[in-house]
Symmetry: C2
Subunit: 345 residues, 2 copies
DNA sequence: CAAAAAAACTAAAACATTTTCGCCTTCATT
DNA sequence: AATGAAGGCGAAAATGTTTTAGTTTTTTTG
């Protein structure tokens, strides 16, 4: 390992000068600075992150917490897309990303202690809605900026998907195509779900559409079987819906199975739309009409918020970024009435 | 931030003693050791990873490199499963995991330099077969143990999925059900693909099954459209196969679309099986018969190899771990002849 | 040309640890 | 009582870097 001292000796200058040359300090002559840099390059110098962090108290590391009760972990495409873009943006901003578990070094401490131990400059919290509330209190103890996903807490910055707006788009899309008997299968009771429900009711009311209580049926996110059961209930109603909205593409696919079991063709006999926009949803048949969330945007914004706050130092203001999704038109929904305009594009 | 010095002052002992107490050194009396530990706990002491790493030259960090040309990144379920299990096992072994990019700190250096900069105790290389060969040479310059996935290089340890064995299982399964006209749609020319092809031909030869060259058709991994085109060619043959094997579940689903387009029912009119075992493959209809790779096992073994080699220090021996998958029986394949035994279980 | 100012460079401290070596007790053994 | 051994503890060096506060050298100015 080549150190500043070794370069200094080779160049016949002091360690301080080498440090300055490599960090572009101003009080060094152009000539020596160049010479030192050349020698450093030759010797294959690579700074020591630990020493740097120790001295400057900056690690240029973002911690990332990834946890949810269902042990799917990163296999949720929504989460892995966020992570992907967060990684890229962080690297571009000069930060490395470290996974933070609750048991740093084998000992069972909390996330905050882990973050403090590693001297993180920021923490990105991606947690399923099922556990985020338990975690966030702990994480806050870390004395660095924090950003969490799809959840808003007092004192914690966040990046959220605009679920109200997304749901509005979806419902308006269905209504525009002439549907008036629209059912909504929704996920567990989380703030995300509540936002979507709120929006669903609001838009329906705006358009003068009555929503029978049986049309709003609870299910579980990412659970195909559960959604299938929910669809069964809907189809057994005396007056079943003409269009069903699903909470995510997994549920969507589960629901489609029930349509098929009943001999219903989509979209000829019944329409459907969903939320998420998984890659696969465009490969299956019929292609799903689904609201693709801007997961990439969320990762990018999270990295940018953390980087900015890390630069500025405490106190850390609470920031919010709201990202909007876009409808990916598929083949699962069609005009319900003859006298209605064809679907946009 | 509470340091050893602060604890020492509070306890009226030396810094050295505090360090020893917290690290369980032997030359300290039980009494003082207990007292120091209690005070440290009270004060909320958390060691400084940077100082520790600087002094001991061990960072307890594994670097992870994740790269492939197709920019799907972690959204490939196979990769995210590996990553997930690697994370968990690493944490249990006392290591944190850091993402390694090619541009540490904004400067465009290589992966090896990044690993050296962060003083990684090991590097885990997950790269798509399309880029791994370009990367591995660079990575080797890092003077720490390395494990890569699904690829075998001289001088580099690796964890591989037993593609020969997996393919054998799949082919034998089809043959056992009476199929003798078996086609194989395969991915790009990589070592993984070659292993599967080799195995495919071997097993067919063993069982005395002739494979017409048109039955082996190239496609692209994770590309549904490509697979659909391949299926089209197969179905246009004068004597089409009775069973089609796909390189992955995405392709599988693409192929299924073509079956449907032709009005073929699966498995009544044609059988199919695949490779990967994505979660979703068990939610769609018909449920896919697919060979689920032991991705979790791969992540675990990778972490264990790195940890062991990091403990033992150089020189680092080249280790290989071979993991085997398991057939997940679905509904896409059925006995072809009447006089044949029913499918196992 | 002397003095002042600016430029170029360095010594040393500081960051939080671990670890080696040596010192001082205490206690048991001759 | 003298010797030795062992146990318990501390001083200090070392890790690689940044940064402050000088110190030396060069340049400018009157």
């Amino acid at each position: 390992m080549v150190t500043l001292r070794m370069i200094a000796e080779r160049c016949g200058v002091s360690i301080a000068s080498v440090s300055k040359a490599l960090n572009g300090a101003s009080d060094l002559s152009q000539a020596t600075s160049m010479r030192i840099r050349r020698v450093a390059e030759e010797m294959g110098y690579m700074p020591n992150a630990a020493a740097k962090a120790l001295r400057t108290n900056r690690s240029y590391t973002f911690g990332i917490i990834f946890e949810e009760a269902v042990q799917h972990g990163l296999t949720h495409e929504f989460f892995s897309r966020i992570l992907n873009s967060f990684l890229q943006r962080s690297e571009a901003l000069g930060y490395d990303v470290l996974f933070l578990g609750a048991q740093p070094g084998g000992r069972s401490l909390g996330y905050a202690d882990h973050a403090r131990y590693r001297n993180c400059d920021g923490v990105f919290l991606i947690a399923g809605s099922d556990v985020v509330e338990n975690i966030v209190g702990d994480v806050c103890m870390a004395d660095c900026p924090i950003v969490c996903i799809d959840y808003e807490f007092d004192g914690v910055s966040s990046v959220v998907s605009d679920n109200e707006h997304g749901m509005r788009k979806l419902v308006e899309y269905a209504i525009q195509l002439g549907h008036r008997r629209i059912a909504f299968i929704h996920g567990e009771n989380t703030n995300v779900t509540r936002a979507r429900l709120r929006s669903f009711f609001t838009v329906c009311a705006e358009k003068g559409i009555k929503v029978p209580p049986e049309y709003v049926v609870p299910s579980v996110y990412h659970n195909a079987e559960c959604a299938q059961v929910a669809v069964r209930a809907l189809l057994d109603l005396p007056e079943p819906p003409t269009c069903v909205l699903f909470p995510d593409d997994f549920s969507y696919i589960g629901g489609m199975n029930e349509f098929r079991n009943r001999g219903l063709n989509v979209p000829a006999d019944i329409s459907a739309a969903g939320y998420d926009g998984m890659l696969l949803s465009q490969s299956i048949w019929p292609r799903l009409t689904t609201l693709r969330q801007d997961a990439e945007g969320m990762g990018v914004r999270a990295a940018e918020i953390l980087a900015r706050q890390a630069e500025n130092g405490p106190p850390y203001p609470v920031e919010r970024a709201v990202l909007q999704g876009v409808i990916v038109p598929g083949e699962t929904i069609r005009p319900q009435l003859a006298n209605v305009a064809p679907p946009p594009r």
